[in-house]
């Protein structure tokens, strides 16, 4: 690994001051992705600002009936938190579908949002990659692209966002709270991650001198009819080929409210409110689910090795909505998909 300076931030304001003063510095919390990227020479910060001791590690109830999750709450603590398990089981399930027990113990909530793509070419510094080195080209477009995106791609980049947690946060309409030199602001989850367009080097709309302080969940948790269904090449500890976070509110067998987000298919968690609108007011059955899948996937476009993801996503959406409607969410330990 490269040499770098190591400093600690005393509080959030100090962290913002320190990052503003040095454009080649980076924050480190859990470090599970950043240290790996530094070992690969993909990230080369001159200085690491350790934020892991800042007091951002609480899960608190909000005045609006939701929860505020400190950015430094470890993924495992969040997944097993009593209030998350009771009120937002879709989020708990998504977290437990990702990474390993060790990584979940280390990784922070804020860091999970900011993890980088696992595109092989992004990691391989011997190959062109517009995300790593803007203007150098995209090796995945004409290369091995089995794990890559089928929605929202650009000529510059077809990478996917790797997080499971973020797919559930998108479906739940979370809000990201950040602090910067001019104060604090809130970013709707849908606006936090970006599509690649011509600037794939920017994964999110977080400014370089801002820090994530908390994630807020609204009151609506879809705790009865939900699922997180993750399809991957091996049964555990692998990134999604396709994943689906689904939440329904039912009145009898009529859908009153629906949420649907996909992972593994785009540069950000893929949510399309028109697919949810297509479900609202419908009878919760296979034909309504298939219609919603068609709406969500209407602009999907495959590449040489990943066109299978479009059919896989369509079937996974129908299966996930079926699980959610039946109140039988996907188990993350018994791997049978029912």
């Amino acid at each position: 690994m490269i040499d770098f300076q190591y400093v600690r931030a005393n509080d959030v304001a100090d962290a913002v001051r320190q990052i503003s003063a040095n454009p080649t510095a980076k924050f480190i919390a859990g470090g599970t992705n950043l240290i790996d990227l530094m070992k690969e020479d993909v990230e080369r910060p001159s200085r690491l600002i350790d934020i892991s001791r800042l007091p951002l590690n609480k899960v608190e109830e909000t005045l609006h009936g939701g929860l505020q999750i400190g950015a430094l709450v470890p993924n495992s603590d969040l997944a097993y938190h009593r209030l998350i398990a009771q009120r937002y089981p879709m989020l708990a399930s998504a977290i437990l579908a990702g990474a390993s027990a060790q990584l979940r113990n280390m990784a922070s909530t804020g860091g999970n949002l900011l993890q980088r793509t696992r595109c092989y070419y992004f990691y391989d510094i011997a190959t062109p990659c517009n995300k790593r080195e803007p203007g150098s080209g995209c090796s995945a477009l004409g290369g091995l692209n089995r794990m890559h995106a089928v929605l929202g791609t650009s000529e510059a980049c077809i990478a996917t966002h790797p997080s499971d947690m973020c797919v559930a946060l998108a479906a739940l309409e979370a809000t990201v709270h950040v602090a910067g030199p001019t104060g604090a602001r809130a970013i709707a989850f849908a606006d936090f991650h970006r599509l690649p367009e011509n600037t794939p080097q920017r994964d999110t709309n977080l400014e370089p001198d801002e820090i994530v302080t908390a994630i807020e969940l609204p009151a609506r948790g879809f705790a009865v009819n939900y699922t997180y269904l993750k399809i991957r090449d091996r049964l555990s500890y692998a990134f999604a080929l396709v994943s689906v976070a689904a939440g329904l509110e039912l009145e009898g067998d009529t859908i009153k409210e629906a949420r649907l987000a996909l992972g593994g298919v785009a540069h950000k968690p893929w949510r399309d409110t028109s697919a949810e609108a297509a479900l609202r007011g419908q009878k919760a059955d296979r034909s309504a689910f298939a219609c919603a899948a068609d709406v969500l996937l209407r602009d999907a476009r495959g590449f040489e090795h990943n066109a299978f993801k479009i059919d896989l996503a369509r079937r996974a959406i129908v299966r996930a909505l079926t699980q959610a409607a039946a109140g039988t969410p996907q188990s993350q330990s018994d791997k049978k998909v029912r």
Partner: protein, 156 residues
Amino acid sequence: MPEKIPVSLSVNGVETQLKVASWTTLLDALRDHLGLTGTKKGCDHGQCGACTVLVDGRRVNSCLMLAVMQDGAKVTTIEGLANNGTLHALQQAFIDHDAFQCGYCTPGQICSAAGLIAEGKARNDDEIRELMSGNICRCGAYPNIVRAIQQAMGQS
């Protein structure tokens, strides 16, 4: 030469002071600075689990941790599990069930299983397998690893 940063760790109950470069991982500090070579370096990228140790009682990948960030932490490695010459229940269970072949992943498997038992979330074989998926065994001793963990869980 890079600047060396002082770090205090309690390793297997022993207070330890060391000076490391910023980029020294906890794994390298344990192996190269403290001579505790029981913890293994497999992939060095957090994918295989061979480097698993307990930090403040939680299982973690020591290859993805900077030693400087763990200042003040309590670290338990495979060398710290036995008690006055009596093997830890997991160590005995791995022997009883022949839960290894080459043994390279075993220290990480056992530390990870100790973390799993402390977490208390695994109740059956499926849950043990899922919550041990961060520890790869290329010899394929998985069935016996699950049996060994079941035995130790029954004793805890």
